[in-house]
Symmetry: D2
Subunit: 150 residues, 4 copies
């Protein structure tokens, strides 16, 4: 694992969402299962978009398809901890967005896990890539930071 970038501090993320863990997030090892971290990723990204009017699941003509996700795990989390999910935007492309997410347990100062989540925007009927809506770019620009992750 040489060459891995280290766990980041909370200050690396401009936006946070609190997520509660659940009894069955823990798997047979009694820690939150690795797949569940991606539920947290999905939640912080989509809740930000929905609450800011940039995504209406029933009506939006263009939607973000997930084309790549990655997560690196630094320390274990167990129910009933709370998760603080930090979100930043590392890249706003013509039709794609690279989000980076850090997950912090309770009062922990460095991330338990961090990773990325790439959306490509497509027309919902044709499924072909489209330019990012300008409203979305305006919304995300304040979350755009110099990427910290390799």
């Amino acid at each position: 694992m040489s060459g891995r970038s280290p766990a980041e501090p909370r200050s690396a993320y401009p936006h946070f969402l609190e997520i509660t863990t659940r009894w069955n997030d823990n798997d047979s090892y009694r820690h939150v299962n690795n797949a569940v971290y991606y539920q947290y990723f999905d939640t912080v990204v989509n809740q930000f978009l929905i609450e800011n009017g940039a995504l209406d699941v029933e009506r939006s003509d263009v939607i973000g398809l997930v084309v790549e996700t990655q997560c690196r795990f630094f320390s274990q989390v167990s129910f009933p901890s709370k998760i603080h999910a930090g979100l930043r935007v590392a890249h706003l492309g013509n039709s794609s967005i690279r989000y980076e997410i850090g997950l912090f347990r309770d009062n922990q100062s460095s991330a338990s896990a961090q990773g990325h989540f790439v959306h490509v925007y497509v027309d919902r009927t044709s499924n072909r890539p489209v330019s990012l809506p300008s409203q979305l770019k305006t919304l995300l620009t304040p979350l755009l930071t110099a990427a910290k992750e390799a």
Copy 2:
């Protein structure tokens, strides 16, 4: 559905836990999937037990096995709503506990769903029923209410 008891108010429950919904709680109908409600049930029960020292997953000699659960659904809930999970104890038996749970969406005054969750306490090695530990009975007695559900 004639004969169903109606959705209850928050006052029917002495204890509450806030649970955050997740993007993928919603299924193809864009509402929280029925199976996910039982994740909320499990969470409010076990978090109460863990935070009050009545369950240590690694070390407890006796544990509660789930022998029956039920849920009735009154109104739909969708991500990104918050859930307030109300908990009461309807019956403290010799070796079993019947919990009743009501799930309330955001500021809603009547339950979106309500149901029950029955634990039978067993010895962890033999898997045979045991009497409820006295510490557990003491903890749960304040949550014991006249059962409202049929």
Copy 3:
């Protein structure tokens, strides 16, 4: 638990679906979590409807809303077992259907868990109950059996 009906044999169910378990179906007790059983219920019902042309999630004008589910647990199941989900119809009402499901582990002859799942059919726009489509009644009549469960 006196008065509980006993675990049923496979012959109590006219239709079966094989479902594979997953690593994170197991919770901290290293058995399939109770909420996951309802994922199996949902799957056997909806897969039967979709594969027989009675449900098109994108286009059906009327859909089944889940109004009540229940499960009783008899013996534990753990990943990597296979589940054989048995399905029957206990009641075909004017606008509702009561399905009953038994879950059988690997080569086990009696159910590990059994329960019910009630759909009320509604108009998708108005959300008001409608009569069951005649195609659906025709499809389900062969699964209609004398209810075995209390």
Copy 4:
């Protein structure tokens, strides 16, 4: 997304496991949610280890901790499709294993998604890295292939 390696054929994977999809694998977009793909990853890896005697969740002294996972998504999958999960080993280190997984829908010849899953073996009590057990190396060597993924 320039520079992405293309979707691979089934021949790129020496071992396969069939996994059944579930109704609630589909999210609001009516396709299998991205986080669920990692449940499939976890399942193909751990089922291989358990069925070949290389992992006993209750008793193994050393276990694999997940330190990194990644998935790239090429085409959508929806319930009730079946998944054929292909598995290979890209790297057997001193204490770590890099698995690579391709997920194929029904009779599809190229992967719907592919990614990696890195285990570091640790002593279960101290949580410190240990050398891979020789039994495990022997088991995995036949799955070791020239890595195809960047």
